[in-house]
Each structure stands twice: as C-alpha cells, then as structure tokens.
C-alpha cells in the first residue's frame, strides 16, 4: 500500500537523464559489437573467394569448358563432363523439386484446415533433416538396386528429394504472406478456390517461390554425397541421364584428393566455376521474376 497524494518526482527526472546518456553509450557499444560480428561472419566467405580465385583462376580457360577428364600423363583436360552432368541432374532435380515442393507448399498454405496438413508438415520437417547421404542410400535401394544400373536419373531423383522440403517450406511461407483479402476478392468474384490459388495467389508469390527454389538449387548443386551411389560419377563425357554421370562436386572431390598438383588446380577451378554457376542462376532467376511484376 502506497501513500496517496503527491509523489516527489524531482529525483526521478535527473535519474532519467542520467540513464539516457548510459543508454546512448550502450547503443553505440551494441552497434560496434554487431558490426564486428558481421565482419567476422563475412571473413570465411571472402576467404573462400580469395582462395579459389588465387588457386583456380589460372586453370579456367577454354579447355576447361570444352574438354573432359584426361588421365594423368596427358596434358590438359577440363570439366565439361562434370558441368554437363551437374546442369542436367540439377535441372531434372528441379523439375521434381518444384513440382512436388510447390504443390506441397500450396497444400500446406491454402488448405490449412485439412486433416493431413499437420502430418505433411511433420513429414516435410523430418525430410529436411535427413542427411544427404541417406537420401542417396534410399534412392540406391529404390532405383539402382532394382534397375541394377547407376544413372544420372537416380542422382537427379536423390537431389530432387533433397529439394522438396526446402521448396515446400518457402512456398508455404510466401503464400501465407499473400494477404487474405486477395483470396477473398477472388472468391467473391465467383471463382472456384483452385482457380483463385493458381491464377491469383500463386502469381503474387512467384518471386518468393523462385527465391526458395534457387536456395534449393544452390544447396543441391554442391552435394556430392547423394550422388556417390546413384549417379556414380563418370570420367567420360556422357549426356544420357540413363547412364552413370559425372557431377561437379564428385569431380572436384576426385581431383582434390589426388596427389597431382595439376588436378588440384582443376579442383579449385571447378569449385570456382560451380559457385559462379549457382550465383548466376540465382541472379538470372531474380531478374526474370522482377520483370514479370
């Protein structure tokens, strides 16, 4: 119980002023700490770029893009087989990842009351936690063992499965960001729900979905583990996805663990090219969806 009546505020005011100056100091302090942390986070990124460019740029030439693997002893050789393999497999994986992922995301976001939604949400979360190599094993058991053949298709399937949960989540999140008033506007025009979703809601969320897909593409482009016993790798040029296929991460690994400095340079160049490929794919997708708006 406090005494009713006049409070003595004369001390409070100076206290508030004093605290204000200490607040300013802690604000500056926090700003400095955050800036330093940001810089520390950026160091590995720039270190990677510096390392790859300094070690790999000398091996990036026309030959790198026009020739495939050459056994040691022969001079030259490039990574055409791996570039084609990665482009093809990631492309096929994206078809799987986008079809299943976007459909799943639509289901989770637009049919929230459905009984299956919590289950699909859970399965998607579990799927995103499965190690890439296990995904490779699953596809190995499903496809490679039954067809008795390693293939680019099997590799693409493993990568596609890895993409699905990422695409599901981002699709769900960006669809939820589309205001419900837009949905209502569509329904109030006498349009069936599926039409509103496909023709009104989905276009409004395109750029966000593309960002999610590109994140997934970036993630799987660098995966070697799920390809080891699915696509298997291939030292010869092969563009037929029904046969074993090379991939950038696999070739980089193969070159990097070798004892030959020539191959080390190829590995570094390959890593640099892989990063540039993912980066430019992201950039192109961004620009393309921005123009559509």
């Amino acid at each position: 119980m406090s005494m009713a009546g006049q409070l003595d505020l004369s001390g409070t005011r100076s206290q508030i002023l004093r605290r204000q100056s200490s607040r300013k100091a802690s604000n500056i302090f926090a700003g400095v700490v955050i800036s330093i942390c940001t810089l520390i986070v950026l160091i590995p990124l720039f270190a990677i770029f510096y390392y790859l460019i300094s070690k790999g740029i000398s091996s990036i030439n026309l030959e790198f893009f026009t020739q495939s693997f050459k056994p040691i002893g022969e001079t030259g050789g490039g990574m055409l087989h791996a570039i084609v393999g990665t482009l093809e497999m990631v492309g096929l994986a994206s078809v799987i990842g986008v079809l299943l992922g976007v459909s799943g995301g639509i289901f989770l976001a637009e049919y929230r009351e459905h009984k299956l939604v919590p289950w699909i949400s859970l399965v998607s979360d579990v799927l995103s936690g499965i190690p890439a190599i296990v995904m490779g094993l699953v596809v190995y058991a499903m496809i490679v063992l039954t067809s008795k053949h390693y293939s680019g298709l099997a590799g693409a399937l493993a990568l596609g499965f890895l993409m699905v949960p990422i695409v599901v989540r981002t699709t769900e999140e960006v669809l939820k960001l589309v205001p419900s008033t837009i949905r209502e506007a569509g329904l109030a025009l006498g349009l069936p729900k599926w039409k509103v979703t496909l023709s009104v809601i989905l276009p409004a969320a395109t750029s966000g979905i593309v960002t999610g897909v590109m994140l997934a593409v970036a993630r799987v482009s660098g995966e070697a583990a799920p390809l080891i016993f699915t696509a298997f790798g291939n030292n010869n040029f092969n563009a037929d996805p029904r046969d074993p296929m090379a991939a950038m991460p696999l070739s980089i690994y193969q070159y990097a663990i070798s004892p030959f400095p020539e191959w080390h340079r190829l590995a570094n160049a390959g890593a640099l090219v892989l990063i540039i490929m993912v980066f430019s794919a992201t950039l192109i997708a961004r620009v393309a969806t921005r123009q559509r708006k």
Binding site: L187, L189, G190, S199
Partner: protein, 258 residues
C-alpha cells in the same frame, strides 16, 4: 425511394443467426431487400453488420468454425440449401471490401476482366466491351483508358477501390455487397464512390455497410440498424433518421452512443 418500377423483393433474410464457434455474432435477423435500391447497414463496431453482409454471399464458408442458420433467399431460393454452389452464389452476389484489394500481379485491364477470363470467356471483343462498360460504371474509365495495361497497384487508393467496384461489376452480379468501401479513402474519393451508388442501383441492388451515419443518410433508400448482433430497426432511410421507432436507434443516430 423511387416508385417508378414495381417493387420486387430480391433478397430476403429469414431468422438468420451466425455463430463463430459457440458465440452468436448475429441473432434472428429478418430483412427484405427490394431490387434496385441502396440499403445501408449501420451500427457501432462489433454489432454484426459485416458478419451479416458476409453471410449473404457465403463468404463465411471459407472461415472454419463459422455457422449460419436460418434462410437467406435470393429471388426465392435459399442460398444455404444443400444443392446450392457457393461459387455460383458469389457470381450472382458480388462484393467490394473495406480495403482496396486489386490483384497485385495484374494490369488494370486484367483486374477488371479477371472474373470473366478465369471463368473461360476468351472473346476479345466481349472482354474489351465489358471492361470498358464496367470501368465507366465505376467512373474510372476516363482516368485509366490510356493505361489499361499498366499495373493496377500503380493507381491511387481511391482509384483502386473504384477498380475493385468495376471488377465486381464485370461479372454482372444481381446484388453488390459493399463492406465499408470508403473507410480507407479520402473525402474526395469517398464522394466519388457515393455519387456512383445512385447510378449503379439502376443495374444492381446494393447493400452497403458503413460506419458513417451521414453516409448512410446520403446514399441509401433503406437503413438497417444493428446493435450487438440484433437487427434493431429497419425502414426507409428518411424515417430511420427523422423518426426512429426504437429508443436505441434514436440514441445511436443522435450520437448518444456509438
């Protein structure tokens, strides 16, 4: 009210109650709406006027745990009957919302044409004709006729709301529901939309929810006063505002509460 055309009841609510879960938001509303009139629903916040409006084109179907009881007859047919398709109902009963909500990725033209296009109308001539007619009805044609292909989001708030009216009109509804269509707009835009209503009622029957009593007095032929989920009084606007029968109506319109 003009008495030039024979009076026809186009919409009739019979003992309508609306529940959110177990809470009744609207109770036992009985209301007849005559075709080609403007009907205002007024009342303080939370009185159930928007809830009632949304029941008329079955918008509550999309919110879980919402239940509508009683009957709402559109030209004698219960829109809540088991064999009625909400999609068809909404085609006949259009809606304009509180905040302008043009489709963000579409041009002005595509916004207005969207209802028809997505329903399968492909004929360019028909689409062009209806888009122009709808934009003229919404008094927007002159302002946008040279930039029909530009994004709808580039319009001002007031223009966007008239675009939404045009979009709703393009599918040729019999009834147009308007949920506080001017509450997010400046006075000039509000005046333009109010002026529209008098013209529009030649073609459609209008139910308009409004917070603004003066607006109801300006634009409507009949007024319904809602209070805490009850339809307290319904009658010709003149009578409601000059000679209300219910003490609560009088209290609200004279500004004693609300």
């Amino acid at each position: 009210m003009t008495a030039s055309t024979p009076q026809k009841v186009i919409l009739s609510a019979q003992d309508v109650a609306i529940y959110y879960g177990t809470k009744d938001a609207v109770r036992h509303v009985n209301l007849d709406v005559v075709s080609n009139t403007v009907n205002a629903l007024i009342g303080p916040s939370g009185c159930g006027k928007t809830t009632f409006l949304r029941a008329i084109n079955r918008m509550h179907d999309v919110t879980p745990n919402t239940r509508v009881t009683g009957k709402i007859l559109l030209e004698g047919e219960d829109i809540y009957a088991a064999d009625q398709d909400p999609v068809t109902i909404r085609r006949r009963i259009g809606m304009v919302f509180q905040k302008p909500n043009p489709f963000p990725t579409m041009s002005i033209y595509d916004n207005v044409a969207s209802g028809l296009k997505l329903a399968g109308v492909r004929d360019r001539k028909i689409l062009d004709g209806i888009v122009e007619q709808s934009l003229r009805q919404a008094a927007l044609w002159e302002e946008v006729k040279d930039r029909l292909k530009t994004p709808a989001t580039g319009l001002s708030g007031g223009q966007q709301q008239r675009l939404c009216i045009a979009r709703a009109l393009a599918v040729q509804p019999e009834i147009l529901l308007m949920d506080e269509p001017t509450s997010a707009l400046d006075p000039q835009s509000t005046a333009r939309i109010e002026d529209l209503l008098g013209e529009l009622k030649k073609d459609v029957t209008i139910l308009i929810v409004t917070h603004n009593m003066q607006q109801a007095a300006r634009v409507s032929d009949t007024t319904s006063f809602f209070l805490i989920g009850d339809l307290v009084e319904h009658g010709p606007t003149d009578q409601i505002f000059t000679n209300p029968k219910d003490k609560r109506t009088e209290g609200y319109i004279t500004g004693r509460f609300g």
